[in-house]
């Protein structure tokens, strides 16, 4: 399948500004950073989690723990995928019990990934609260899940694909809307 880029909805600066704003909102809503921890959903939620932690450190001067969550084993669509996804490590080097977890991902779409992530998190311990931060909320949710922090709301059609690129993985920072070629 060949996708063509339709619209560029965020560039490097846009992404930086969105993450800065989300960092402020996180601090404000939680009245500081006590017991906060950030866990990114692999793969692109990971770098975003690291960046949020950096921003918060810049603002508050406090280092908060960051973890990585692989949700493959919790997915509900394994038997319908054409190609089997690789399982990566979940790396949460701290106890999440009684922490406020900022669960971070690049795009909120159907909500199924977040559902899987919530199950995965709860198997690791019992957090006091879980809040959800996403760079893009594109709509079309299939589960009753809502983000607490959103970089940008982007209404999309189901034919479109939102692609988030981050420097750590893709070499550049941007968010684009793509569509299947020929449609």
């Amino acid at each position: 399948m060949n996708f063509i880029e339709k619209t560029r909805i965020m560039d490097e600066a846009g992404m930086r500004r969105a993450l800065t704003r989300i960092s402020h909102e996180i601090i404000e809503r939680n009245k500081g950073v006590k017991d906060l921890a950030i866990i990114g959903i692999r793969r692109r939620g990971g770098p975003l989690a690291e960046r949020l932690a950096e921003k918060i450190k810049e603002i508050e001067g406090v280092e908060i723990p960051v973890g990585l969550l692989d949700i493959t084993l919790y997915r509900d669509d394994l038997t319908t995928l054409a190609s089997q996804p690789m399982v990566l490590r979940t790396e949460v080097p701290f106890d999440i019990t009684n922490k406020v977890i900022i669960l971070t991902d690049d795009v909120l779409y159907t909500g199924r990934t977040v559902r899987a992530a919530l199950d995965a998190l709860i198997d690791l311990g019992r957090p006091r609260a879980i809040q959800l931060a996403v760079l893009v909320d594109r709509g079309h949710k299939e589960l009753p899940i809502k983000a607490d922090y959103v970089g940008k709301n982007v209404p999309t059609s189901k034919k479109e694909i939102i692609t988030v690129r981050v420097k750590e993985i893709d070499g550049k920072d941007e968010v684009v809307i793509e569509e299947l070629a020929g449609e």
């Binding site: 995928l81 190609s83 996804p85 690789m86 399982v87 990566l88």
Partner: protein
């Protein structure tokens, strides 16, 4: 991923390097799950794994059973007395019965080589060979490779010595087939009566003298010696065997200083391995057991976690 087109795992001989790498890579996050408080993920909910053991082996069977349970599959153990094979129900009928009960996978251990291949031809269930006769024991081979890679960082180019009854060892064969795909130099060490004919044609170096064979190796894999072999006249006494091949500290010192000693267990102390060496490597041997569960979880995920239609072809 590169394992998804296999219906069965019958041996390491038929797997590629990439496929083995995938299995070992997936086993890494699986090992993390074993170390958690909640040792369970929902991945294989609703899948049924039957372990069918025609040969007693608590260790391997339990390992598969736990691997299934950690992934939320339902695991059922069927221990069958070998003698009932000859008198009672045919293996084919047993397999069919398990299949129509709804099992998705059968894990089979059998004293006769080639039985997993026979089962594979006669069922639509997925089949894992948990050891067949003196042919292969692919999951043991994989867990040994996992253990080596974890400790050494890589498998590429290592010198690995396998010591003992090579003739009757399916563990040796699976290790040889697997390790060679990673460019390892595999050496087999043992008495001439326990060397399989044509073993050099497998691409290994053969040593009757253990001191020579261990010179400069990175890994020593010690095989369990079975007492029945002595009764069959393949070596005169266990004492003579121990004199010639028991892995002692002096002998270990021939290998590289950072040598890794593996044993598939359970150990015959004072026969194939001295107590002194055994005690110094117990922790690694225990770790091998954990790794065995992780590797088997990886296989169960890779073989049953994906889309059935995609893989069945």
């Amino acid at each position: 991923m590169s394992f998804e087109h296999h219906k069965d795992l019958l041996g390491l001989k038929d797997l590629g390097k990439e496929e083995i790498t995938t299995i070992l890579d997936v086993a890494v996050p699986m090992k993390d799950i074993i170390k958690r408080d909640i040792k369970k993920v929902p991945t294989l909910r609703g899948k049924v794994v039957v372990t069918l053991f025609y040969e007693p082996s608590t260790r391997t069977r339990t390992s598969f059973e736990l691997a299934g349970k950690y992934l939320s599959a339902d695991t059922v153990n069927l221990a069958v007395n070998t003698s009932s094979v000859q008198k009672g129900e045919s293996l084919r009928d047993t397999i069919k019965t398990i299949e129509v009960m709804g099992a998705d996978m059968v894990v089979i251990r059998h004293s006769m080589s080639g039985v997993p291949h026979y089962v594979s031809r006669n069922t639509s269930m997925r089949v894992i060979n948990a050891g067949d006769g003196v042919h292969e024991h692919p999951t043991q081979g994989l867990l040994d490779m996992y253990s080596i890679r974890e400790k050494k960082g890589t498998l590429e180019g290592l010198k690995v010595a396998i010591v003992g009854d090579i003739l009757h060892s399916r563990v040796a064969r699976s290790n040889i087939f697997g390790l060679q795909k990673f460019g390892c130099e595999v050496r087999v060490i043992g008495p001439s009566t326990l060397m399989p004919p044509g073993v050099e044609k497998l691409g290994v170096k053969k040593y009757f003298n253990i001191e020579e064979g261990l010179e400069g190796v990175d890994v020593i894999n010690v095989l369990r010696i079975q007492r029945e072999r002595q009764k069959k006249g393949l070596f005169p006494t266990l004492e003579e065997y121990a004199n010639l091949y028991c892995l002692t500290r002096e002998r270990v010192s021939r290998a590289r200083p950072d040598v890794l000693v593996l044993h598939p267990g359970p150990m015959n102390r004072g026969v194939e391995i001295s107590s002194e060496v055994a005690d110094s490597v117990t922790s690694i041997i225990n770790e091998q057991v954990t790794n065995g569960v992780a590797v088997r979880m990886a296989l169960l995920y890779l073989m049953m976690g994906g889309s059935r239609d995609e893989i069945a072809g």
